[in-house]
């Protein structure tokens, strides 16, 4: 059957970009059919900036932003959101602390004001700090029983050595979380919650100009704390991003490393295999995205899914993903496998990866992946929430807010040779880290 796929540019909805005097970048993009507004604030304050001995601090702080700010108590803040049906979610990622709000358009100014208060002036009340510590410790205990979480965190801790910004788990460890106190949170606020380097994206039922005017009025006099400047680029090395820190490449293992993490009583094992990755502004980003799509995304998990799930029936899922960031986010191959099939699945994945390195991909595989990726851009920008998050990330990582519009063209320009070069660059077989988390084999 003939396919009707074409390369589509994203719909030509203009995004208004404004830089305030304090450095905050405001992006505004209307959505013609939306009945709500999505706000996405990105701050350079993720887990990578957690101080030594305080891993989990950014995630801890994120849970406390709406638990007391300015003169408001946690209940006053919660009532303010719930009364009008607005939502507020804050989470620390690897590089960033991100806040997402949704509201109806009538409440935009009120929510923007609340967003500023919560990010600029959280008060971290003692009772809430204690509660957040308990919540985090419970989550850590749950994650210690979660085969997927254990596999991923062990992989990250093995790929990135002690001292690297990406070494520690995002939520921290039991001892580091127990050590976090109000003083740490207050230092975190002063050092990292600031307008310079931050991005606020608005999308949905708004006029771009009017929404920007309101946002500029609300955020315009947010001042950068004097203490924030000195610590913004703490890592050594040449900054790749203007105003962004540099996180170095981890050392390449001199051999393949296998780590087993037994979790008794579970019914399935999770497998994670890690390889060197790349930064978000790496010139090889788009070829690497195409390579990953062919390897572990297209269809039901790309070449990996075809071999492991579709042909061999060994797992419910098998896929790969890149996680490029300010630092070199790794290429990770993942699979969830029944206990008695782990060895077969590992051997099959190894064989599949070796074959990709040795023989490359079929032209049709690369062509299909490129076509699919290009054609999916409008869909990925369809909702206000997705558009706000995508635009904020493009701005934060220096890709440019027209990146979604340019992406189909960039993908089309990727050559078969570039994709195979990306495979050879990243699939350093013989030097990978492999983690198996789950019950002991029978």
């Amino acid at each position: 059957m003939k396919t009707s796929a074409r390369v589509h540019a994203a719909p030509a909805i203009p995004t208004l970009r404004t830089v305030l005097g304090n450095g905050l970048v405001i992006l505004a993009r209307p959505h013609p059919k939306s009945r709500s507004v999505a706000l996405h604030l990105v701050l350079q304050a993720g887990a990578a900036f957690d101080p030594a001995g305080r891993s989990g601090l950014a995630a801890f702080a994120a849970t406390l932003l709406d638990r007391g700010a300015g003169d408001l108590t946690a209940q006053e803040i919660a009532s303010g959101f719930d009364r009008i049906g607005a939502t507020f979610q804050a989470a620390a990622r690897r590089d960033t602390l991100e806040v997402e709000c949704r509201c109806l358009p009538d409440h935009l100014e009120e929510i923007l004001g609340r967003l500023r208060l919560l990010t600029e002036s959280p008060t971290f009340p003692e009772d809430e700090v204690g509660r957040a510590r308990g919540l985090t410790l419970t989550m850590l205990a749950e994650r210690a029983q979660d085969t997927a979480a254990v596999a991923e965190e062990t992989l990250q801790g093995t790929l990135f050595p002690e001292g690297h910004a990406y070494h520690a788990p995002r939520l921290g460890r039991r001892d580091s979380v127990e050590a976090i106190g109000r003083a740490d949170l207050e230092r975190f606020r002063a050092r990292l919650l600031r307008p310079r380097g931050a991005v606020l994206a608005l999308a949905g039922a708004i006029g771009a100009g009017a929404a920007t005017t309101i946002a500029a009025r609300v955020f315009g006099d947010w001042e950068n704390d004097a203490r924030s400047a000195a610590t913004s680029t703490s890592a050594a090395g040449r900054p790749l991003f203007p105003e962004r820190p540099f996180f170095p490449d981890p050392p390449r293992p001199d051999r393949a490393i296998v780590v087993r993490r037994p979790i008794p009583g579970k019914t399935q094992s999770d497998l994670a295999i890690g390889f060197p990755g790349l930064r978000r502004n790496d010139p090889g980003l788009v070829p690497a995205m195409v390579f990953n799509c062919v390897l572990g995304e297209f269809g039901i998990g790309g070449r990996l899914g075809q071999e492991v799930r579709e042909k061999a029936g060994l797992a419910y899922y098998a896929f790969s993903r890149f996680a490029p960031g300010l630092g070199p986010g790794p290429l990770v191959v993942r699979s969830g496998v029944t206990v008695d099939k782990v060895e077969r699945a590992v051997a099959l994945i190894d064989r599949t990866l070796a074959q990709v390195v040795r023989r490359g991909f079929r032209p049709a595989e690369v062509r299909d992946a490129k076509t699919s990726m290009s054609a999916s851009v409008p869909r990925e920008m369809e909702t206000s929430v997705a558009a706000a998050a995508t635009l904020a990330a493009a701005e934060f990582y220096g890709l440019g807010i027209d990146f979604p519009e340019r992406l189909p063209g960039l993908i089309a320009a990727v050559t078969h040779r570039q994709v195979e070069a990306a495979a050879r660059r990243h699939l350093t077989t013989g030097h990978q880290v492999q983690v198996i988390a789950g019950p002991e084999p029978p």
Partner: protein
């Protein structure tokens, strides 16, 4: 409130083909996308012991090749059109969808028409997929909350087929044959048991012509068997206690809840809004954000230092199911204290301790969430199809008005009459410190 859905904003064009296929088309011209959903009135409710999980397994098989789309080509065609695709099986429904570039509409209709009657069920593919669905079951059972929810459902419901999990039991998945699967497919995958929904960038009259061309010649079949069983009234509290490797203790309290068509359904949504911030009625949307932090249960359980988090669940279903509250307990907290705190809050509602602001806040939360969860072509097509499959799409379109009409007295009556302790089932999962669990699907629960 400007986010309120105008009465006329979503009004899909409805048609019924001669072979019984229901067609619902809703134009949304803001992006060059279409979302095609093909729904079947079949789910785990249509199974019986020995064949549990067969609807879900059949859904997997329906990605494994048809007479006109070879196995590897089904998903490929969708993704080449920039598509997102998936399928899911639940109590009342099985569905497949593609959200793709608008130009690929006809191709997606051809795919769904082929899936309706032309799937192959090759024996070799059946055996490959057996291990895949067993792996899916075991992955789910790794999660202690999923395990507890399954145990509680099987305890609260003693007769109705909603009592077993959609994924099925391990013994059944090991025993189901290719012929079982194919018989199931042929019984339920017929145009007169299906609903086709398309939302997005198209002209309805042209789209309907394409639908007629692709689906019009498919032959109808005998009406599938109806569900006869009605869950008997529960006349006393039930309890289930399980031990499982886990990082925390979990408490799951379930009460019998009405079907989506019941006049009390909107009042349940408002009640849940007051207790917990309101449930989503969109099973597909990824929105939400957890319970409202000004809700009564958040204050009692989380700020009361009894639970680290909690969720509530009120799923729109064809037959009566469950309203449930699931809490992750803080370390060292006795589950009985959490139980008491929950019942205390319900008791306050039963006494009529609800003011106008409570009611208004709950309704506003529902309306705002409804606006946020019906923005994309995918979400709108899902909601139209889901509600049409379990009852009628008009039920969804009318829900905002019915929620708006709920009164304080309605909520108090539900709390008093329906959420009493004699009609509840309480489940507790205690960490077992890593001792091996009994084999999946043959545990000591009432289904054992």
């Amino acid at each position: 409130m400007s986010g309120r859905r105008p009465e006329s904003a979503i009004r899909p064009r409805t048609a019924r083909l001669d072979n019984g296929l229901t067609v619902l088309l809703h134009e949304m011209r803001h992006v060059p996308l279409v979302s095609v959903w093909c729904w079947y009135r079949v789910g785990s409710r249509d199974e019986r012991p020995g064949l549990t999980g067969i609807s879900h397994w059949a859904e997997h098989m329906n990605f494994k090749g048809t007479r006109t789309f070879p196995r590897d080509q089904i998903v490929r065609h969708v993704e080449l059109a920039g598509g997102m695709w998936n399928g899911y099986t639940w109590f009342d429904v099985t569905t497949y969808f593609e959200t793709v570039a608008a130009a690929a509409l006809d191709e997606m209709l051809a795919l769904e028409a082929s899936r309706m009657t032309g799937c192959l069920y090759a024996p070799r593919e059946v055996e490959r997929e057996r291990t895949v669905v067993i792996s899916e079951l075991q992955g789910g059972e790794n999660d202690p909350r999923t395990y507890l929810e399954k145990e509680v459902a099987a305890t609260a419901l003693q007769a109705h087929p909603y009592r077993w999990p959609t994924i099925g039991y391990l013994s059944d998945l090991q025993a189901i044959t290719r012929d079982d699967l194919y018989r199931h497919y042929r019984t339920y995958y017929i145009p007169n048991n299906a609903i086709l929904v398309v939302a997005g960038d198209f002209e309805s009259s042209k789209a309907l012509a394409l639908v007629r061309r692709r689906f019009g010649r498919l032959r109808p079949g005998p009406a599938p068997p109806a569900i006869r069983t009605v869950e008997p009234d529960q006349s006393g509290e039930r309890r289930v206690r399980v031990r499982r490797p886990s990082g925390a203790t979990y408490l799951d309290i379930a009460w019998h809840a009405p079907a989506a068509t019941d006049p009390d359904f909107p009042a349940y949504l408002v009640l849940d809004g007051i207790l917990a911030g309101g449930p989503s009625v969109n099973a597909w949307a990824r929105g939400g954000g957890g319970p409202g932090k000004s809700s009564r249960l958040y204050r009692a359980l989380v700020e009361g230092d009894l639970a680290s988090e909690f969720f509530t669940s009120m799923i729109p279903t064809r037959h009566p199911y469950l309203y449930r509250i699931l809490a992750t307990l803080k370390e060292g907290v006795d589950p009985a204290r959490v139980e008491s705190a929950v019942q205390e809050e319900i008791g306050q509602l039963a006494k009529g301790d609800i003011d106008a602001a409570d009611l208004e806040r709950s309704k506003n939360q529902f309306l705002a969430r409804d606006a946020m969860e019906s923005e994309s072509v995918t979400d709108v097509a899902h909601q139209i199809g889901f509600f049409e499959t379990i009852a009628s799409h008009r039920l969804w379109l009318d829900l905002a008005r019915r929620v708006g009409a709920v009164r304080t007295a309605d909520v108090a009556r539900l709390a008093r009459v329906r959420l009493d302790t004699a009609r509840r089932t309480v489940g507790v999962l205690i960490p077992s410190d890593g001792a091996p669990p009994p084999p999946a699907g043959t545990t000591g629960g009432p289904h054992g």
